[in-house]
């Protein structure tokens, strides 16, 4: 039986919830409340010391990193397939996975955190202190508040990401060309938040988001509320320290 620790239908957790629905896989749901930083509590740190969701458990093995979980699910449960039949398409999928993890998600977290403007409370700070060094450093910086230049760099990176998505959609209806799959599932939950944060999206990107949101499996995964408009951002990974 698959067990999924997740933060509800948002961000990286939403991608894995969608993939499970697309594959028609039953699972034990273990939701955590990211608004109260439950992922930094002792109980969850015993599951993942980095204090990050989602974590997928199967056969006593715990898997982290949402994009790698998506690849794992597709390799282990190949029907219906969620990756391309061609090596080129699979390259594009991997490229998007890396781009979401190292560019889109961390910049979105910084930008959304700065827009919220709320300082974390005492319990949240106590949770940060329990994290491993790198994760703790990220949250400490968030707690101190990001410098304007950092927020601006995050905004510029997101504008660039929107451009790259639009460019890719000019080559085909989905991010990895002809077929809907892992690349779309990995990118969708993050980009779906951008209009709400005041970013202008080109018509092709709005259309792509709409086509994903309209899928029966996506509606099923996101539940009655759909993607929440306001979520507590989760930091990381750190942006490149050396280019």
């Amino acid at each position: 039986m698959i067990e999924l620790f997740h933060g509800g239908p948002a961000g990286h957790s939403a991608s894995v919830l969608i993939a499970l629905a697309e594959k028609g896989l039953a699972f034990e749901s273990r939701p955590l409340d990211l608004a109260t930083f439950e992922q930094h509590g002792e109980a969850f740190l015993a599951v993942n010391a980095a204090g990050q969701v989602p974590v997928l458990r199967e056969e006593h093995r715990s898997l982290t990193e949402s994009f790698f979980i998506l690849l794992y699910l597709d390799e282990r449960y190949p029907d219906p397939p969620l990756d391309g039949v061609d090596a080129r398409v699979r390259y594009l999928t991997q490229k998007w996975g890396k781009y979401v993890e190292t560019h889109i998600a961390p910049n979105l977290a910084i930008y959304a955190w700065a827009k919220r403007g709320a300082a974390p409370g005492k319990d949240a700070l106590a949770g940060f202190a329990r994290l491993p060094l790198e994760r703790r450093a990220l949250w400490r910086r968030a707690a101190e508040g990001f410098a304007e230049a950092e927020v601006e760099a995050a905004r510029a990176a997101l504008v660039k990401a929107i451009g790259r998505i639009a460019e890719s959609l000019a080559d085909g209806p989905w991010l990895a060309r002809d077929r809907y799959g892992i690349a779309d599932i990995a990118v969708f939950p993050h980009v779906a938040r951008l209009s709400g944060l005041g970013f202008d999206l080109p018509a092709s990107v709005v259309d792509w988001l709409g086509r994903i949101a309209a899928r029966r499996q996506v509606c099923e995964a996101l539940g009655d509320t759909g993607l929440p408009a306001d979520i507590t951002p989760t930091m990381g990974p750190e942006r490149g320290r050396w280019g």
């Binding site: 093995r61 898997l63 982290t64 990193e65 790698f68 979980i69 690849l71 794992y72 390799e75 282990r76 090596a87 080129r88 699979r90 390259y91 991997q94 490229k95 890396k98 190292t102 790198e134 760099a153 510029a156 990974p237 942006r239 490149g240 320290r241 050396w242 280019g243």
Partner: protein, 260 residues
């Protein structure tokens, strides 16, 4: 037609070279001299507008992300399989590569370039250096080169990088107690990815890596360096990498000669 545009068989630049030689796939090697920043030249930017190396072009399909390129090479070409069949071990292989790509390799790059490249910019005309910086397309790459050219890397950052490299040595030693290779019972992309950056660890971290201190990592280095594919790939180097690797093989007691 398979064209590889890259620098030495080292770090990201080396990944496609090491994979292709392992699988015995023939390709055209276009040497991009990073030392004179040829990857920011208009000719190279026409191939990869981001100005990062490597770029691999297969029948007109341009690829610029080094780790996805490794998976593509294994996916697309004949030769020994370099990824585990089992989805769980594939996940493990990808985690090792991610740790290397995001945390360890950039730390070693920061340390090595500050030691080797930064001194070359001392005394250079700052206006000239600024013009060079303006040619770099990606802001994150520009920031790293600016630190390098103007000797502005914080001591705290260098220290943190050293800590991360040391931690990685410990983690890999631990992984190798579990299985003979970094992602299971067979040599995989994880081993190649780590070798691309850690090939000369006995020389770059002699205090931390030795037969006594890290016996499993030492043995792994020996087994990797004895592979003909790797020896051939490292022999492609035109500059310091080839010599450095030959020296490492001697330290490890690995015989030369597998290189074609």
């Amino acid at each position: 037609m398979l064209d590889v545009y890259t620098w030495e068989p080292n770090a990201n630049s080396g990944k496609p070279l090491l994979c292709l030689k392992e699988k015995q796939v023939s390709f055209n090697y276009h040497y991009i001299d990073m030392g004179v920043r040829e990857h920011f030249s208009p000719e190279y930017l026409a191939i990869n507008p981001d100005g990062t190396i490597p770029a691999v072009v297969h029948d007109g399909f341009v690829m610029t992300e080094s780790t996805p390129i490794m998976e593509y090479i294994d996916d697309r070409f004949d030769g020994p399989r370099l990824r585990p069949e089992d989805p769980y071990w594939r996940w493990r292989m990808r985690q090792v590569m991610r740790y290397m790509d995001n945390i360890v390799a950039p730390s070693l790059a920061m340390l090595a370039s500050n030691r080797l490249a930064a001194p070359r910019f001392r005394g250079a005309d700052p206006e000239e250096l600024k013009r060079e910086l303006d040619k770099i397309p990606l802001p994150e790459r520009r920031a790293a080169w600016e630190k390098l050219m103007f000797d502005k890397t914080d001591a705290v950052d260098l220290e943190e990088s050293a800590r991360r490299v040391a931690q990685a040595i410990g983690r890999f030693e631990a992984l190798l107690t579990e299985t003979p290779w970094l992602a299971g019972h067979d040599y995989s992309l994880a081993d190649i990815n780590v070798m691309a950056t850690f090939h000369s660890l006995p020389a770059s971290a002699p205090d931390q890596v030795s037969e006594a201190a890290t016996p499993r990592l030492w043995d792994w280095l020996r087994r990797c360096h004895a592979r003909p594919g790797l020896q051939q790939a490292f022999a492609l180097g035109k500059g310091l990498i080839g010599a450095r690797v030959a020296e490492t093989r001697a330290t490890l007691g690995v015989a030369e000669g597998a290189a074609a």
